[in-house]
Point group: C2
Chain length 225, copies 2
């Protein structure tokens, strides 16, 4: 399947590598391709161009090109940049497509206290849905760290859960199947319409405290029943 992933951070790269390894035709999108290929990485991180050279099946394009490429789209941009990134796509290239929204509504890191910029009675996913009413937005995967998204079995044999929310039941079912078949998620909990994205996005706040308390991001929630 042709998959367009907006965002070239850890989440975008991890999703792209995993999906390309499963023989999908993946393009990751960024704001400025030339700048991305030449940018100096943060200390200790690999250069993006080196990463891309090691993942030859993944192509790099602009946000617009990745949106045009994908039959299925994934928003893996930082939440505060998501709407701007989507606005660079041609509206027709978002229409009638499923967009899996993985982003969280956190402001830029290191700018003031930890704060969600959309919260409580609204969510980033709902704002994206309102902006693109003909796109099928499904919130998913935003409650785990990148490598667990694509390899749940790597943590406790996969005995933990992932959540989805979206207004279109068929799209939710399609994304649930995608998560099970591509990544091996055993339990995908369908929380119904996109208002559930509020709670899912607010989970980042307890997630970050757990990260600090446990000293690792390698954890996930299981809903014990």
């Amino acid at each position: 399947m042709k998959i367009g992933i907006l965002g070239t951070g850890d989440v975008g790269k991890t999703l792209a590598a995993a999906l390309a390894a499963r023989s999908h035709d993946v393009m990751v999108g960024t704001r400025d391709v030339r700048r991305k290929m030449t940018e100096k990485p943060e200390e200790g991180a690999a250069k993006f161009s080196d990463w891309l050279a090691m993942h030859k099946k993944v192509r790099l394009g602009s946000f617009a090109e990745a949106a045009a490429h994908g039959e299925l789209l994934m928003n893996a941009t930082a939440g505060h940049a998501s709407l701007e990134a989507l606005a660079m796509a041609k509206p027709a290239d978002l229409k009638s497509k499923v967009l899996i929204d993985v982003a969280n509504a956190l402001g830029p890191w290191n700018e003031g206290p930890l704060e969600l910029f959309i919260v409580n009675t609204d969510s980033l996913a709902e704002r994206i849905q309102r902006t693109y009413p003909s796109t099928y937005v499904v919130k998913a995967l935003n409650t785990v760290t990148a490598h667990i998204m694509v390899n749940p079995a790597g943590l406790a044999g996969g005995a933990h859960d992932i959540f989805i929310a979206g207004n279109d039941p068929d799209s939710r079912e399609r994304v649930a199947r995608f998560l099970r078949e591509e990544f091996g998620w055993k339990t995908v909990i369908d929380l119904g319409d996109l208002t559930a994205a509020r709670g899912l996005e607010m989970m980042i706040m307890v997630w970050l405290k757990l990260w600090a308390a446990l000293g690792t991001a390698d954890f996930n929630f299981k809903v014990v029943r």
Copy 2:
């Protein structure tokens, strides 16, 4: 131990019954004792006076009397009424005591859309702490339904987790021990200072969606590592 529980709803009654059964000297506090003893219950619910008659070791008092009674205090009022309830206590009766805050920052049920009245960069627990700086506020138990609070073993043998947050490490340790010894919690995850109450209180939003999706409140989170 003398325990004062503010609130006579499901949570207050469940905590009181469980702690009295373990031979603690428990007083539950309400706004108006006479009114509480004569109030007509909601359809299908038991009269409070009948409940009290069946739990002879639990005493009923005003909010002020329950606060005066307890060496340990628990806030089991509805979140939107918590500060008003605490304001009815004599300040000296709150001073230097541990207050386990079980409340969630939800508005009154059936009034408009689901909404937290404190959220994101503040929490109900922090507001209580700021109002009573000499009280040791510890957020706990607000992420599970009442009967699981006092009997975690009743769900999957207790293989799920509870969280605490509070500014005073000794008080957190005291509450962690209390949860283990009185109720049998196996894993109490210490999330550090009271800013973690933000994430814990925001969990109610995904909790409510899970309740709807699963068709039962008999579930809890386990942090799989």
